[in-house]
Assembly symmetry: D2
Homo-oligomer: 304 residues x 4
């Protein structure tokens, strides 16, 4: 398979298509990003790598972080975390409170905001220095000591994060947040502010295509079974109420962020990071979705 | 991989576990089935086959039929069918009207009852003799001219199918059922009454593991792309509001029926049919789910 | 109080205001009504009566019938009827299935369609000849042997009444409809097709302003307590999800119908029937609501 | 009418009935109240007054305050307040977020918590010293300079008020809270901590039975029209999702609080304050509801 040629071809096709998406406007700092940015980076477990476009520009990975906070909580506590949240797709927008009310404060899955808040709460209870410890975990997983939070983005999101505050207090009212909601929110906003470029993104997540291990390090980050389960969750829940669409058209586990980034995983094969800031109606990168759809169509490879 | 040994091993383990499930009671005829039945049949694209337990006993495949009605409608109309229904998991029980009201009569996906009714409506508009034509399609796909409906089961379901009647009239009120609701319901109940044993089940669905073709017949039933999409839909929507759990624990596309049957597909590898009539709280076969969970755990193979 | 002068004054004011409403379009026969019709008739328990405009034109009273079917069922069975439905406002549109699903088939109150269907089911179980017996009850209450159903309206509504069919089968699926849904629906559509003019309307309902008795007949139709309770229900539930607005602006118990009629009751004082076919967004007569708002404002009398 | 005899009679009957209610447990300070307390006080506009039982014991009026904050906001801004909230019954429990999500942050009415928070927000924007100014308003309306907040109750509620915090941030996320949510919540919890005994309660609310004026003071607190509208709102929305039941059984406008107090108004006649701390399932005083039901049954007087 000539991945390089296919990526170049699809990249050029999508770059020239009209972008019907819009910049995320609700977080002030995100609205300042250059909307024309478009980058892709591919990392295979056979060590082949290839990047194109703005793949070396940093962006805010936002909700893609939710996979990483999940992995750390899962690593620490194992299957016990599922006492606090579910593994079902939500069928409703990412920040819905309706389902949470019906489910008495137990979030449907770790990739909606409610679930990520509960995961952050779990980490707060088990880490000595949550922000520093989580950053160290990310740097270790990525093999990249230069990764960092963006305090400017975190502050910007905190200044308008009323919906997430509502979610966190709501879950607290059901007793499913154990720590002070303000501390949970502070950690949550900080974790979402992680910045990566496409190459860092695809390299960081390659362990999920590799059975839970980094390429050159036999120490497992997650067990094989945990890795499969995280991939399964990305498949069914990674794109809010567009998860079915992504699964249908792209056919790979993945996770999007409101900063316009998407990571997708082909188990036993590769990870691919895509970034384009303008979002479709469901809050997922318009060109990122297009790129991945054409990419798996052209490679004729998906998990299905 | 010694599939035979693994299947035997897992079958014996699960057979001896306590069955916390309950027989479907809402359809009178289904409540008469022997609750202790338990069968498994495996069909690989390399032609290896293996069955164990009650794999030659016929049962009502019920909602598993929804995959087959979808395939026929998809074959006839292509992507146009998605103008009438979606591809997102529903996040609510299989016969919920709530979502349908919010979505103005457009069902979330073809595997909830509402979606299957719309698919039946599409087939009614495009088939000369819907019941006969659909049966011929199934017989052709399975290569088994002996497959048939069970009028007794269809009548039994029709006699108490008030929820499905409500669903059908409700969709009709939004204009998304084109034919007479009574005809749509009649065809729907008939299609759900199809009877197979586990070997017929796994053989019938093998084309979904084989890129859309039967083993010995190059004529495609579905295109490669359609096949992938049907598998993706089974992955995200095949088990009602337990789809995430099945994906998480089993890691294969699949579809369950209230008769206690489950079909699961490993693309490019095999299909496996399981049957045990007692259902868990979500309406899926209790032992069937257990068997498939242990099976993919022991084979250490899933799509993730 | 010079009711005549106030009615004339308000009538002329409202007649000259722009009518932002629209004719009910979903029932074909109702869409044929002259949209400019506007009539009012007032009946006091001191025997004063006054009519203005098109108050002698017959129209389809539609959902106003729900008060009368309730009264007959209440008369026959007493407080036992509340085992089958509630007395709370619904907070949702008149034909919503959402609440019914949450409440397991127990309608919120007798004035939403679901509740009226349950009342019709109760009547079917207790009347020998439901249609004839109900008509006799109405003729007796009104003292008017000329009142009748409109088979044309009933047929027209039945031809498109998919939402009500869905409601009825849905309640049946919870076991809260005891008779054949088709018979319940037939009786329901028939009862809604009752035709009255404004004078017949206000005279028929005067017993609710008179403690449950007709003016010249000491035999109670309802007990005093039942009468108060029916009035209370009209106050809180008579206008679907505009009940609060009507209570707030008009301050009287009342009930509207999709034919453009409204009946309002001032206990111990009068009943007033208003008719204008164009409906506001909530399905209540636009000019009828306006008239009653100005009328109670000008009389400075309401129950509050 | 011998109100004294009827009150004594009903009081003794209800005192001796079993109390199936339970103390509010979610606010720690409220759980310390003596559950056997039971008091009633009646104030008529003809100046007759009568109290029985523990009618001189102070209690936390809690949500009854919502009528008073509404009155002050209505007095200051007039009908403009309805741009920020509705007048419809909610049909759901008092602290539901579901409806708020569907209605984009516009609360259904001023008596659910969401609506009261918006009213507090309005007051914050228009009062120089909100807490002091509101207290002065209450003292003026009641003619009682001794009325006061209970800082202990306010702090107790604030310490566990996660649901209200969630509500407030949620409305803020829709832009319908203009001030800092923490300030709104602080004022809200303070206002709910007002303490009165039954005599203070009935005297304070007598102006709503008197067309908006105090007995001995011609200065209107509200206009006649506003007074009627506040009464209408209490009728349709005063008891959360038991408003219909209260209207049905008691037939008077009223408002309950989680401290076990209830105020009921008979326009042009009287106000009556009842207090008994144990609550029924819907969060309304068990004995308070019973007392008022029997009271209006025995007087044979209600607004209907």
């Amino acid at each position: 398979m000539n991945y390089k040629a296919i990526i170049e071809d699809v990249y050029n096709t999508v770059r020239n298509e009209e972008d019907a998406g819009k910049l995320a406007s609700y977080i002030p700092e995100l609205a300042k990003v250059d909307p024309e940015k478009f980058g892709v980076h591919f990392s295979a477990i056979d060590r082949f790598e290839f990047g194109i476009g703005d793949y070396r520009d940093k962006f805010s990975i936002q909700s893609i972080t939710k996979v990483l906070t999940l992995c750390l909580a899962y690593k620490i506590l194992g299957e016990k975390i599922w006492e606090r949240l579910g593994v079902e797709p939500s069928g409703t927008p990412f920040n819905s409170l309706i389902q949470l009310e019906a489910d008495k404060g137990v979030p449907r899955n770790p990739f909606i905001n409610a679930g990520a808040l509960v995961i952050c709460d779990i980490l707060l209870s088990h880490l000595d220095n949550p922000k520093a410890d989580f950053l160290e975990f990310i740097r270790n997983v990525s093999g990249n000591p230069g990764l960092n939070y963006s305090p400017k983005i975190a502050d910007s999101e905190k200044s308008v994060g009323y919906r997430n505050m509502a979610l966190c207090y709501f879950i607290k009212s059901f007793g499913n947040i154990k720590n002070d909601p303000l501390e949970v929110l502070d950690f949550y906003f900080c974790s979402c502010s992680l910045e990566m470029d496409c190459s860092e993104l695809s390299r960081t997540f390659l362990f999920l295509a590799n059975g839970g291990r980094k390429l050159f390090d036999p120490t497992p980050i997650l067990t094989k079974s945990q890795t499969k389960r995280v991939n399964a969750l990305m498949q069914t829940c990674g794109f809010y109420d567009e998860s079915g669409e992504f699964s249908f058209k792209v056919g790979l586990p993945g996770k999007s962020g409101v900063g316009g980034g998407i990571i997708a995983i082909h188990p036993s094969q590769y990870s691919i990071g895509v970034w384009s800031p303008k979002l479709n109606e469901k809050g997922n990168s318009f060109k990122g979705m297009k790129f991945l759809e054409y990419f798996t169509t052209n490679t004729q490879l998906s998990i299905f």
